[in-house]
């Protein structure tokens, strides 16, 4: 995995960014609490919540038994009553045993109650493949939770975005699925201005370019930036757009870019069919139809459950080389 450019000034890790966001919001609002497996005494399986138990005590940093459906449902009930739970899934893979709670309770209770119930709850944890974790532990879930109205989806790539978006998510009055990445926890990036809130629903152009729009989200941003850098050397200027949130989705920023570059590649982790990426490609193909000089192309994971062997895992995951090839293809360059 590639890492972002060396930051100029003060830096912090993605992990610290998340921790700061939680700590600041917990300090600000005592209705906020954190519940999940190992979040307290163990400081989180990935050490994201280090120090929070010590700071906020057992009442607000709560170690849960292995009962995702139970504690996700518990957090939903607590949110109904006006608390503001942060419900951590050790990884999003384990959210599948809480699937009904998330999509049939959290995403639907407000509608079913005719707007009487408000659900200020954040579900968070790492999603996507890490390294050699095998078929059951490598799910990119953006296509799953991005499917259902009633639950917002944020998927930050940089530490600054992670902090600003998590703070917004915690203040949000709707359920938010907050998708992190195990492989990003250790990366460093520029710190955020004090108190910064990054609103849900605003994409960011992470690199400007005029030849092709490359839209992505989450960890794939760094794959996109690496590909963009490589293509620079070949005279192709790629505009990299980081969607940052999938629901709401910032269509305007993306479409404006494609209408300028006339080409678009969608890059995402995870399976191909019924994917969020396919929806984005369809959106662009339809809304920028008259502007496109080439079909919208996608780079995603192969349509295979993730095997353990590292060579197969590499073959399955999107990487910069695959993105470079896709961009060249839509630009009708040799080797594309």
């Amino acid at each position: 995995m590639s890492t972002p450019d060396p930051p100029a000034a003060a830096t912090f890790t993605y992990r610290e960014a998340l921790r700061q966001a939680m700590a600041e919001e917990m300090e600000r609002d005592d209705r906020v609490f954190l519940m999940g497996e190992e979040v307290g005494q163990y400081h989180g399986a990935y050490k994201v919540s280090e120090g929070l138990l010590e700071k906020f005590g057992e009442k607000r940093v709560i170690d849960a038994p292995i009962a995702e459906s139970g504690f996700a449902g518990l957090c939903i009930g607590a949110a109904m009553a006006g608390l503001r739970p942060i419900c951590e899934f050790m990884t999003w893979n384990f959210s599948f045993v809480a699937f009904d709670a998330i999509v049939n309770s959290a995403a639907k209770i407000r509608l079913m109650s005719g707007g009487q119930v408000t659900l200020p709850i954040v579900f968070r944890g790492p999603a996507g493949a890490a390294h050699m974790l095998g078929a059951q532990h490598s799910h990119a879930v953006d296509s799953i939770y991005g499917h259902f109205p009633g639950i917002l989806v944020a998927i930050p790539a940089t530490p600054r975005d992670a902090k600003g978006l998590l703070k917004s998510a915690i203040r949000e009055n709707n359920p938010v699925a907050f998708l992190e990445s195990e492989l990003l926890y250790g990366i460093k990036g520029a710190t955020a201005p004090e108190g910064e809130l990054i609103p849900l629903g605003v994409a960011e152009v992470k690199r400007a370019g005029k030849d092709c729009t490359l839209v992505t989200w989450g960890r794939m941003l760094f794959v996109a930036l690496e590909a963009a850098k490589a293509l620079e050397g070949e005279g192709i200027e790629v505009e990299v757009i980081d969607a940052r949130t999938l629901r709401p989705f910032d269509e305007a920023t993306l479409l404006a870019s494609v209408r300028r570059t006339n080409r678009c590649v969608v890059l995402h982790e995870g399976f191909d069919r019924a994917s969020f990426g396919a929806w984005v490609a369809d959106l662009v193909a339809r809304e920028a139809f008259d502007f496109l000089d080439a079909p919208v192309t996608r780079v995603c994971s192969r349509d295979v459950p993730m095997p353990y062997a590292p060579n197969l895992e590499r073959a399955i995951m999107p990487d910069a080389a695959k993105v470079v090839a896709a961009v060249k293809q839509v630009c009708y360059r040799e080797g594309g």
Partner: protein, 334 residues
């Protein structure tokens, strides 16, 4: 010791008797209201005025009514899809409930929920839910919130015996027990989950045997006497509110009709149904009231009033407007 044993003994007893009769009169009124309400809902359903699934609890009213009376107004309540009785016993206006069944804008869930998803948050009625077991963890969460805030509220959660087989039941009871949360789990054992009897779904017919796995309080009784329901629940609630942790109560009861309007309920013998009808809590309460000295005229007037109120609810629902089509996207996000 009082000087005059007669007054000292008799007067409090008389007072208690009167209070008891008042209590029962209120419970009786609620049960009759619910019975009439559901009969009219069934009629409206056959007339096509109500759609989707309609689950009646005719025969089971004593559970909701007796339990709700033992709760405080700010205790939190969550129920399954068979929850007309619970909403009404909680105090949700008949008009708002019937309008919801009719899918009208004036419904207690603004026409979004229907029969299975009645909500009345002002009365701490946090909804009816359609996925068996899915609402148990929500109740634990409501109790968690009370506990978190140091408020003396408890959460009561109603579900059928069919829910005892599902994972969410286990996880909810397990978490509530572990953290000693103030939850009253009320299992309405009507012996059937659709067409599957409890003898075909559980290896041990006693649902409260599950409590042994968590070490929580349990109780088990027949819900054919609404006062018994009230008293046993009141005792359990007191312990829960006192910090004793959750309790699981199994109330044996019976639905006189099918699972939903679509179900002719052929899986039960007429004898079985009839035997339970004999134990119907509504005539039972009426008889008891008469014994307690309630006047026949008062009872008749009460029953008449219930019918009038239900008729008014039907009229209100019929005349209410549909949700504005322009608001089709409303109420999804805060």
């Amino acid at each position: 010791m009082s000087a005059d044993p007669k007054t000292a003994k008799v007067r409090p007893v008389a007072k208690a008797d009167a209070a008891r009769r008042e209590l029962l009169m209120g419970l009786y009124r609620q049960m009759v209201t619910i019975r009439r309400f559901e009969e009219q809902a069934a009629k409206a359903y056959t007339q096509g005025k109500i759609g989707g699934f309609l689950h009646l609890s005719i025969g089971q009213e004593a559970v909701a009514v007796g339990t709700m009376a033992a709760l405080r107004a700010d205790d939190d309540v969550v129920a399954s899809y068979r929850e007309h009785a619970h909403a009404i016993a909680r105090g949700t206006p008949l008009t708002a409930v019937m309008a919801e069944l009719f899918g009208k804008a004036t419904g207690c869930s603004k026409g979004r929920g229907g029969s299975m998803h009645l909500f009345d948050v002002a009365r701490h009625f946090w909804g009816g839910y359609g996925i068996v077991g899915g609402h148990l963890p929500l109740a634990v969460g409501l109790a968690f919130a009370a506990h978190y805030r140091g408020e003396p509220r408890i959460a009561a959660c109603f579900f059928g015996e069919g829910a005892a087989s599902i994972g969410e039941f286990h996880e909810a009871l397990s978490l509530a027990a572990l953290w000693k949360l103030p939850v009253l789990f009320v299992c309405e054992n009507n012996f059937y989950a659709m067409g599957t009897s409890i003898w075909r779904s559980l290896s041990i017919e006693d649902v409260t045997a599950k409590a042994l796995a968590y070490g929580i309080e349990r109780d088990r009784f027949d819900a054919d006497d609404v006062l018994v329901v009230h008293d046993r629940v009141a005792a359990a609630v007191e312990k829960i509110r006192g910090g004793g942790g959750p309790a699981l109560i199994e109330m044996r009861t019976y639905r006189f009709r099918g699972h939903s309007m679509a179900d002719p309920a052929k899986y039960r013998t007429k004898e079985e149904v009839d035997a339970w009808k004999v134990r119907d809590a509504i005539p039972g309460a009426r008889k008891r009231l008469a014994e307690m000295g309630a006047a026949e005229t008062d009872l008749a007037a009460l029953e008449e009033a219930c019918e009038v109120a239900v008729a008014e609810a039907v009229r209100f629902a019929a005349e209410s407007p549909e949700p504005p089509p322009g608001e089709v996207d409303a109420h999804v996000y805060a």
